[in-house]
Symmetry: C2
């Protein structure tokens, strides 16, 4: 049995509760599949939503960015934050327009942020963010210097409440529509790497990084 | 010259203003490339961000959903709303970890919502949402009945302020890192259709819908 987040007034599904999940395993898997997240926060009583890279360690989400950015300031302030991640998995094309849908997986996280100030946690945070972008990349490139770390804001967000929602599967048309002469089906969608473009100035002796080659498998054409 | 949204305290870029844009043409193009958006709103003083399908007509964003959903209630309430759309276009893998980045296009919209109650606008809204999902699909499937329309909430959001931000191009390493023996380059990413799965109950006489066949071009394998 995996740990579960509480069903609170914020996370409880009002609609289609069967599509909801509150267990850490499901929520972590959705987060770990994502390259970026969407962070919602409030400034002067108005909502903002800004995309950002991120990394995860247990139930802590790490982000970094310019110290002057609204996003970093909002998370560092300790005010309530909401983070969303969504994967589009397919278009569900039904016989009736009303039954059209999408297959997706999404997670919504609620919690509060803080500024990360200790060097050890700062380095862990940057490693988590890098490996979320591309697993294994942290070990391949030049590590951040103290000066670089000091020039950026590194923040943490603790997942206090969370829920996941997803739809998978085929078309669900009404019985009376099943005989309509309308094509119906699912178009599977995915976010995938399309092309590798090495920098033009690379020395001949530098081979493609394992993190990239591994990710593309044997089919890599570069 | 295309129309521009005003640079307000909400939309003005604090960081890297060269990556910003405020013209309608750029912002509309980013919106029109998206299958879903992220809607941020405030409930009981706390921020929420929820993904949703949407459609656009000029500077109006239409969404629909269950009447009981938090999202529909929040937009119909007329309170301040923020909508974000983000496309991930590539991973930018530099010689130094600190210079890692992503190529992306994002738009952030600020405005207020309202409930759509007139049948003519309701139908336009549903057509816009359907054609955003898959252009041309509206003309292929059974149109919504009055009963179906009455059972759902259809809302509109007027774009009052907006900005776009993007990064494109190659690696930008520091001069002192250029000779490091680290592979560097860009991995282009895209959200694409992977597979067509027709419903198993389709009569033989029903051919694949032009909206789907067209989208896949000549390479369609179904």
């Amino acid at each position: 049995m995996t740990a579960e987040f509480a069903r609170t007034s914020q996370t409880k599904m009002n609609r289609k509760p069967a599509r909801g999940a509150y267990d850490e395993e499901t929520i972590h898997a959705i987060l770990d599949d994502a390259i970026f997240c969407q962070v919602a926060f409030i400034v002067d009583g108005r909502p903002f939503v800004i995309p950002s890279n991120f990394g995860r360690i247990d139930n802590t989400i790490y982000l970094h960015g310019a110290k002057a950015s609204r996003l970093m300031k909002a998370i560092a302030s300790g005010e309530a934050i909401c983070i969303g991640v969504t994967h589009l998995d397919g278009l569900v094309l039904a016989r009736s327009l009303f039954s059209h849908s999408v297959n997706y997986r999404s997670a919504v996280l609620f919690g509060h942020g803080r500024l990360v100030t200790e060097l050890a946690e700062q380095m862990e945070a940057l490693k988590a963010v890098t490996d979320q972008l591309l697993p294994g990349r942290w070990d391949e490139a030049r590590k951040p210097s103290q000066k670089e770390i000091d020039s950026t804001a590194i923040v943490a967000f603790e997942i206090e409440e969370a829920s996941a929602k997803s739809r998978q599967g085929g078309v669900l048309d009404e019985p009376e529509d099943m005989e309509l002469p309308v094509w119906a089906g699912v178009v599977e969608m995915a976010q995938i790497p399309m092309k590798i473009l090495p920098e033009s100035g690379l020395p001949e002796s530098v081979e493609i990084a394992p993190s990239v080659a591994k990710w593309f498998g044997n089919a890599v054409g570069h």
